[in-house]
Amino acid sequence: MVEGLKPVYEGAEAYIYYADVFGRRFIVKHRISKPYRHPLFDKMFRYNRTRIEAKILSELYLSGVRVPAPIMVDLDSYIIVMEYIDGVKLLKVIEGLDDDKLCRYAEDIGRYTGRMHKLHIYHGDLTLGNILVTDRDEVYIIDFGLAGYSMDVEEYAIDIHLLRRSLNAIAPEKINIFMNCFWKGYSGEVPSKMLKDVRERVREIALRGRYVSERLRRKYLRDRYVE
């Protein structure tokens, strides 16, 4: 299906192509083989990730989370065809955003993430590079290649931890305002018990990395970390 075409984007694990049909543009996502992987591993991997991504995209799309609408899937060639979103990565524009706009985006991201988690779906790679914003200020979450189903609060917290860390790497001075607005949107979507569990786990995960001096003291300082 994609032989001989030139990808418009070469991602970490898949190539993205445009397909223009009757004046509408679609995205073709093809998971590629990697020469550094064991061949057996490589096949297993691409098959599973394509299957889960397609399933999750359709469930989220039908639940009103802004994601690209899935059009078709071909598991034998590791291909998903989906809606084209005309937007830019938040990663590219975040530094130039004023606080109001940043807050609105963050709140939307929080809302979608909350709705996703309530459906027991985690994204698995929620970074600023996987969030698109459009001219009409709509926010889309993309790339569900690492997503999955889980009842475990750990997976939801990891999503938020990754988002936070990506902010820390790209725009460290905007973390506070972004996260405050994010939580505002998130708390509107999930039950309060779940909100509490997720927030607690996010704090715990941040203290889990290697050589975190706070880890030693966290028992005594826990109250201070409560925002």
């Binding site: 990697k34 550094y36 591993f41 290697r210 050589y211």
Partner: protein
Amino acid sequence: MPRIIVLGIESTSHTFGVGIVEYVDGDVRIIANEKDVYRPVKGGIHPREAALHHVNTSYIVLRRALDRAGVSIRDVNAVAVSLGPGLGPCLRVGASLARFLSSYYGKPLIPVNHAVAHVEIGKFLYKFDDPLVIYVSGGNTLIAIQRRGRYRILGETLDLPLGNLLDTFTRETGLAPPYVVDGKHAIDMCAEKGSKFIPLPYTVKGSDLSFSGLLTHALRRARELREGEGLGDICLSLRETAFNMLVEVAERSLVLTGKKQVLLVGGVAANKVLSRKLSVMASMHGAVYAGTPPEYAGDNGAMIAYTGLLGFLHGLTVEPEKAYVRQRWRIDEVDLPWLRG
């Protein structure tokens, strides 16, 4: 600019090292890099035994480094020391020696973060200015970039470091010690006898890694070998799984940041299989790849001396009485003036 000579002391873990660098007219040369490594007869690193080893060899290594460089301690302009992260008893040996040299001979003392030093020596050797850094050793596994005066971590292990995973597996299965023979890790020698790929737990969370489940499962499969399976197959599968996890998160970070240089540093950088995988991955994205050569990949004094020189040129010094060791000093906690701007 006159000649500046910086002596660096490394003692965070099994290696006691002394390196000396020379700076003349903007040119840096490593003029000595001597070390002595504590090798356990059985088991892993015993912190007290390693520290005793450092005490017993420190003055010999120091003497050797000065002789090799052809300088006297009085010619040295500053003393740099690795104050963490690492094993407390080991760190204290290096810190004590550095504090003594600094106060007795009146030399400025420069605190160096061990992880930063691994990165800086790699950048220096390959003239990289802004790489995606992959730091893998017995005590660390992380992916970082430099931004606004610090190294920022994009992904790291949530439990075991990669080097620790390989060491523990080979130790528990009786393949090690010795962990490394002729630059080859016990896991590689074992994997050469394997041919089958056995699916093992693969845990990537965004750009974070978790190796503990992989270790537990691999050890169980090694204890209860199935029909037609050998330990070699487990070694091969364990190594493939662990390395692929690391390469995957590195690739993810490379695409996210769009860096054009990929640098592998730390003790595990000496592993040729990992280095080859990363090199293939980097070239797929048009990035230049470099893996630190073994002499500077493992812990060494030269990297401390070089990073100490950078600190010295930016006026980063510490009073000897305030030069405490920090066992859990994260790479992303250190402000580095040369990364600003």
